[in-house]
Structures are given as C-alpha cells and as structure tokens.
C-alpha cells in the first residue's frame, strides 16, 4: 500500500481519491463537512426568511428536518451498527450523528432506560441571540422538541422525551437546553 497523504499539496493527481488520505485528514474533513452542512442549512433558512418571511422559512425547515432526521438515523445506525430499543441505544445514535462536531453536549446515562442530555453554547441559539429575535421559540421549543422525540421514537415509540431546560438561557449560563429520555417499564 502506498503512503497515505496528510493533505493534497503537491501536483495534481488524476487518480486522486479520499482513500489516499490518512485517518487524521479524513477526520478533519468529516468535521469540516459537518460544519458545512450546518452552514448550508442555516444559509437556506436565512435566505428564505428574507425572501418570504420567517413563517414560510420555519414551515420549510420543519418539513425538511422531519424527513431528514429519519434518513440520517437510518444511515448512522446502519454504518455504525447501532441497534436496540432502549434509551442507551438512542443516546449512542445521538452521540454519533454529524452534529456531534458542532455541539458541546454531555450525555449522562443513568441506566439503560434513562438519560439526561445537556447542550451548551449551541451555535444556532448563539446566532439567534445575536440576531436579537425570539426565533428560538419556534426552533428550540417546537422543532427541536419534535426532532428529539422523532429520534427517540425511531428506536422505541414508548420512550418519553421531556425538556428540562429550554431557551432563553439565564445570563452567564452556558446551558442552552437539557432533555430527559425515559422508558418506563
């Protein structure tokens, strides 16, 4: 096997492919692509909001993410062999999604049927705070709640998702939101 590349400096290689890159570089690209996906989605939201207003942008956002979250979960679980129907499985899938690079989160697994997930300094919330609007009411209170529920119900419709903390955050606090996942036996 030829030596793996750290980057793509040097001359053009007509046979170049990502397979030629070393592990650390693939990881760096993966991280960057995760941020790229967030940026692209945000760019679309803001562009539609400017052209058609926030209600239309939010409506489209909901429609897209309701579809996409299921596709993403199907892919993540297939690629990483994550299967089960308890809260531990849900948390494992959430740890492994493309968004893991963007969010500062902690996952506390109390037991395999009970977990607390805490998000800190969420970039979307920080953006909305800077914007000075109350769009967090739609994005965080409505859409994110729905997406967290859909994520849990993908594995088991009996898992209950409760928001313990939602925006706006208290002054000086890093916590953006906190969720409890529980499966009552």
């Amino acid at each position: 096997m030829s030596r793996l590349l750290k980057d793509y400096s040097g001359p053009f290689d007509p046979k170049f492919s990502h397979d030629m890159l070393e592990r650390e570089t693939l990881l760096a690209i993966l991280k960057e692509n995760s941020d790229y996906l967030r940026k692209l989605d945000g760019q679309w939201y803001v562009t539609v909001m400017r052209a058609c207003g926030n209600d239309v942008a939010f409506e489209c956002d909901v429609r897209i993410w309701e579809k996409f979250i299921l596709y993403e979960l199907k892919n993540t679980t297939r690629l990483l062999n994550i299967y089960g129907d308890d809260v531990a499985t849900v948390v494992k899938a959430m740890q492994a999604t493309p968004w893991m690079w963007i969010h500062d989160r902690t996952f506390e697994l109390v037991n395999s049927n009970h977990a607390i997930i805490t998000y800190r300094n969420c970039p979307t919330q920080v953006y909305i705070e800077k914007e000075g609007s109350d769009r967090y009411k739609q994005i965080c209170h409505v859409l994110e709640r729905k997406l967290f529920e859909m994520t849990a119900h993908y594995f088991n419709p009996r898992i209950k998702v409760t928001a313990l903390k939602l925006p706006p955050r208290e002054k000086g606090s890093k916590v953006s939101c906190q969720w409890e996942y529980k499966l009552e036996s």
């Binding site: 007509p14 989605d41 562009t47 062999n81």
Partner: protein, 185 residues
C-alpha cells in the same frame, strides 16, 4: 494509541467520539455526509418550491449558492493545503470538495492552465429528468454555469469557465455536463 473502532456496537461509552473510528469507517461516514449535504440542499429547494413556487425557490437557491460556492472552494483549499492560482489548483480543489463523493466525474489536466471536468450520471440531473418539468434549464444551464465561474474565480478571477456540454443529454448517454477551464496568461 487506543484501539480504533470499526463501528459503535456494544455498550454506551460516555466518551464516544468519531475520532475513535477506523479509517475505513471514517471513509464511509464521509460518503454519507456528502450525500446529506446534497439531500439537505435538494430538500430546501423542493420545500420552498412547493410552498412558494419555482421562481422563488430558484431565486433563493441562486442566492445561497452564490455565497456558498466560493466558500466551498476556499475552505477546501485551506483544509487540504491546496495553494496556487492556476487551473491545476482549482481542479485539485474540485477533486476534494464536500460534493465530490456524491458525483461521478472525470477531471483532466491538459497543462497547469488548462483542464476539463466531466460529470456523469449526476443525481441532481437524474432527479430533474424524472420530475420532467424542464427545471434542468435553470439549474444546469443557468445557475451551474454561473457557479462554476464563481468557484473558479475563488482560485483566480482570470480563470475562464466554458460549458462544453450541457443538458439535455442524449438518450442513453451517461454524460451530463462537461466544462473547460482555461487561464490565459
């Protein structure tokens, strides 16, 4: 160095990160992320089109991509240490950018200032062909023509991009579009 995981089967790990995954698994995730990017973009277009019509969707798409196209090339160059201002530099960036893994393309370098990119079986064109409304005229023959130029100009504003072949494609042909990139000195 800790052992690398090929997947995330087994028990919950509070410290799980994609950085624990093997090179092969990172490669698979990278391909999936490339597909996510294309899907999120496509879903946004279709959602806005359903809600507000194709003219508004196309207008938003153009605005989003006139912003994102140059960013894509610049970020790719930064990440992979691709430096220069010639056609070779641009073609290298096109080989590595986040979209590459979703598209089948052939990139030919004639000399440092002259090259060709040919796209085959483009999933976007295939979707537009299935839809049957002739949207390829605005997406491929208008927007993509402008965007190829924006991308090339992110490397050097003097690079000239010429579409050699554009949709519609001939029956039975897998060739979707072909571009010539040239820098006159």
């Amino acid at each position: 160095m800790a052992q690398q995981r090929s997947d995330y089967s087994g028990p919950f790990d509070p410290g799980f990160s994609q950085s624990q995954l093997s090179r092969e698994t990172l490669g698979k995730l990278l391909t999936a992320y490339s597909d996510y990017i294309r899907k999120v973009d496509g879903h946004w277009y279709l959602s806005v089109m359903k809600r507000c019509g194709n003219d508004v969707a196309f207008e938003c798409d153009s605005e989003v991509w006139e912003e994102m196209a140059a960013y894509t090339i610049r970020e790719t160059c930064r990440l992979l240490d691709i430096r220069g201002d010639d056609v070779e530099t641009f073609l290298k960036a096109m080989q590595v950018n986040p979209w590459t893994l979703t598209y089948k393309c052939k990139i030919e370098l004639v000399n440092k200032d002259h090259g060709f990119i040919t796209f085959y079986d483009c999933p976007t064109l295939e979707a537009l062909e299935r839809e049957g409304g002739g949207r390829w005229e605005s997406i491929c023959n208008d927007l993509e023509v402008r965007l190829m130029e924006v991308k090339a100009h992110a490397v050097n504003p003097k690079i000239k991009s010429t579409p050699v072949k554009l949709p519609p494609r001939e029956p039975g042909s897998d060739l979707c579009c072909r571009w010539e990139l040239k820098l006159e000195r």
